[in-house]
């Protein structure tokens, strides 16, 4: 069942039943040599790789994953959000200032910002949206904000309890708290109705949603920036990669998300189709949970270094992601994050790996147990395990289904080697917090010299000084071979011939097509 505004829903079968039976009885309809489904002008159809969840239509419930933003950028708008060229792009706020002491943030709203129902975006809505937000990090956010003042409809002032240098990062980028929803409308129709038919301030309006199947959006002509050039967007959920590519090739969809491996190679070779890769904020590395245990082989830094030299980063990059992934050498921090420190480039040298192993007393390699990984990324795992076995480190791949993996990982149940792929938004500090520093959710052990630096940077308001501390921390991580970095994943997508600008890769680290208002179709 769908809630529709405008167009009627597509029914499971339109053709009269008898004709249906006749057709199927006749087997294949041999006499129909036509292109299936001519694409409608002014419409862009997407093949989406994951099932679209209803909660992604509502900024009040964003979860900390990047996927909800796929829809948020289309339906909604924020005061400040990552935009082309900057992590703090002006959205609904035309300008903002922070006070010297870091306790007050003032925003000035645009006069021409409207919701889909015609109501103007006011300071009241901003306050309401913040208080309504109950997604990831909401307790943290609400705990740090002392009060929100709305002196007039176009001015909002946030007062913090203590200086918090990361306020804008969380308010604008990492959470949905700064994405504005209309208070009057929600109070009028109620939360349930709003969730079924969301109203926002973004470039596209909600038309219909068939959960797990299809989402239809229509251009919002009064969008403050400009009316979008593509009038209609249809997102179809197609979970199988091969099928997505087939749909792209046959012209049924114009954009296909996530096309990997040899399918990506095929995409490149197909005339008319383009492969567009985005290096996202997901970094992959091999973690050594046993490095703090003296009896474990992983305690020896030479063996950890050997793993570093054994991985054929570029080879795997070429094989799995057509060379688009960034082999940065940083295990857990993507290169577009604030406070990123560039380590020396990783080197692939299996001989050196073997000699390090020999030095460490294992000239013939050793049986290294299991290599745990999230099964959706087992292709990466397979390649790395392949490399490790080539130098004599005999690990066995253990792909675990996502939910189970994350749970066991967080509960510190894994030993030997773990392939991690954190993708949360934030900056270098937030990644350090959960993955390196003592007390972090996925931290199996820590080093005191790194730990003591962390609280120092948390209160440092001077940007340059803070950066220096965070750089030092990352340098220590590198020197101690805490991780063996693999890469920063590239998200590969296919774009069909009808699309002019796809908007892929315009916002650093963002895997999907945004800003939506900039997407264009080539004139026929």
């Amino acid at each position: 069942m769908m809630q529709t505004i405008g167009r009627p829903p597509a029914e499971p079968f339109r053709i009269h039943r008898r004709a249906l039976l006749a057709l199927s009885a006749a087997g294949l309809t041999g006499a129909l040599p036509h292109r299936t489904q001519a694409a409608s002008p002014g419409q862009v159809t997407y093949a989406v790789h994951i099932s679209l969840a209803a909660s992604w239509l509502d900024p009040g419930q964003t979860s900390g994953l990047i996927t909800p933003f796929l829809l948020l950028y289309a339906l909604h708008d924020a005061l400040v959000k990552p935009m082309p060229g900057t992590a703090y792009g002006a959205g609904l706020a035309e300008s903002w200032t922070a006070s010297e002491d870091g306790l007050t943030y003032d925003f000035v709203l645009r006069s021409n910002a409207l919701f889909h129902n015609g109501d103007p975006v006011t300071a009241d809505d901003v306050k309401f949206s913040f208080e309504r937000y109950h997604g990831a990090n909401y307790a943290d956010l609400q705990g740090r904000v002392a009060s929100i003042e709305t002196p007039d409809p176009r001015h909002v002032r946030f007062r913090l309890k203590q200086p918090w240098p990361d306020f804008l990062t969380f308010y604008g980028g990492a959470t949905g708290a700064g994405w504005i929803v209309p208070r009057k409308h929600i109070e009028a129709v109620g939360e349930e109705a709003f969730k079924k038919a969301p109203v926002g301030a973004g470039p596209y309006k909600f038309v219909s949603f068939n959960p797990g199947v299809e989402l239809v959006l229509e251009a919002f002509e009064q969008y403050w920036q400009k009316p979008p050039s593509v009038k209609r967007i249809v997102m179809k959920v197609i979970p199988d990669e091969g099928t997505r590519l087939a749909a792209l090739k046959s012209g049924e969809v114009d954009i296909a998300y996530s096309v990997r491996g040899e399918l990506a190679e095929e995409l490149r070779k197909t005339p008319g189709l383009k492969l567009e890769a985005v290096a996202v904020q997901g970094t992959f590395a091999v973690y050594f949970p046993e490095q703090w245990t003296p009896s474990s082989p992983w305690h020896d830094i030479r063996i950890r270094r050997a793993v570093n030299f054994a991985i054929d980063h570029q080879g795997i990059n070429q094989a799995l992601t057509q060379g688009y992934s960034h082999v940065t050498g940083s295990g857990v921090i993507p290169d577009m994050f604030e406070f990123y420190w560039q380590p020396p480039k990783p080197e692939y040298n299996p001989d050196k790996a073997r000699s390090l192993l020999a030095e460490a007393g294992r000239p013939n390699g050793f049986d290294a147990g299991f290599y745990y990984c999230d099964s959706s990324y087992s292709n990466i795992g397979e390649a790395v395990v392949n490399n490790l076995r080539e130098v004599g480190i005999n690990v066995r791949l253990r792909p675990i289904e996502r939910a189970g993996f994350v749970k066991a990982w967080g509960e510190k149940q894994y030993k030997n080697l773990i392939q991690i792929g954190p993708g949360a938004s934030g900056n270098a500090a937030t990644r350090m917090e959960s993955l390196v520093v003592k007390g972090g959710q996925f931290v199996y052990g820590s080093y005191p010299d790194i730990d003591e630096l962390f609280p120092q940077q948390a209160v440092e308001l001077d940007h340059a000084k803070r950066e220096a501390i965070l750089h030092r921390m990352q340098q220590l991580v590198y020197e101690k071979a805490l991780y063996a970095p693999i890469w920063q994943l590239a998200f590969l997508n296919g774009v069909g011939p009808r699309v002019g600008t796809s908007s892929f890769g315009r916002i650093p680290g963002f895997p999907y097509t945004a800003p939506y208002e900039d997407i264009t179709l080539k004139s026929a």
Binding site: L245, A246, G261, E262, Q318, A319, E382, V385, G404
Partner: protein, 297 residues
Amino acid sequence: MSITTTTDVAAIEGPARLGLFRSRDFPWVPVLIILTIALVAVFADFLAPHNPEVGSLSARFKPPFWLAGGSMTYPLGTDQLGRDMLSRLIYGARVSMVVGFTAVIFAGVVGTTLGIISGYLGGWVDQIIMRITDAWLALPALTFAIFLAAIVGPSEMNIVIILALVYWTRYARIVRGEVLSLKEREFVRLAVVAGCSKWTIMRKHILPNVVNSAIVLASLMLGVVIVAEASLSFLGVGVPPPKPAWGLMLSDGKQGLMVGYWWLTVLPGLCIMLMVLSTNLLGDWLRVKLDPQLRQL
């Protein structure tokens, strides 16, 4: 609708079974195929030219030797990680056979036992077992398997257990049906009158006579189980890589199918087909020989 007498059923044991080998229509080809696959599985270490689990990235997607770009180094080509297909197929025989046979045997043992107990003892024992079977069957097999894999994680052993747990109910129902009609037979009644205990009767009289059905069912299930393993791998919960199971190779290679690397799927597919073909032909023949009344299988 053919009728078998009591003596017929009771007599096909011992020496009579061995006589089957000498029948005119003994299916030599299928049996030879199965034996070959079994031998390949056992001697994989000597037969395979390369390590099936380690490959070199520079040798990815090489085609079989008779195509341009192929060579005798990798006679049947390589896969997405540069692993030799021939070696993987050879070792895959081992994995698929082990998984297939073990699962079928486990399922058979559990299902037959429960079927006999349920059918013979009747009463509330029967009801409980049947209710459990009902509830079990109400859970869709494939998704039940995904469920279990989600809880215990995929590994070769777990897949065997999962497949066994999914398919035991087939045996139970059919065996129970058999037992219900066997119970009324003269030789069983005689045994009861003679004072044999329930367990003795089940063991000595019932069991040997349902074994035939179980064997036929097992031969038919083998193919089903191997294909089920392929389907589980497709959904991401089958035998974990890099172990080469034919089903896994089939699902690994499906992306390659789209781009023309046909050998990644067609070759393991052919192996599966040969295996299923042979076991089914053997099962068909056994069914006819052991008890014509088993046509409903």
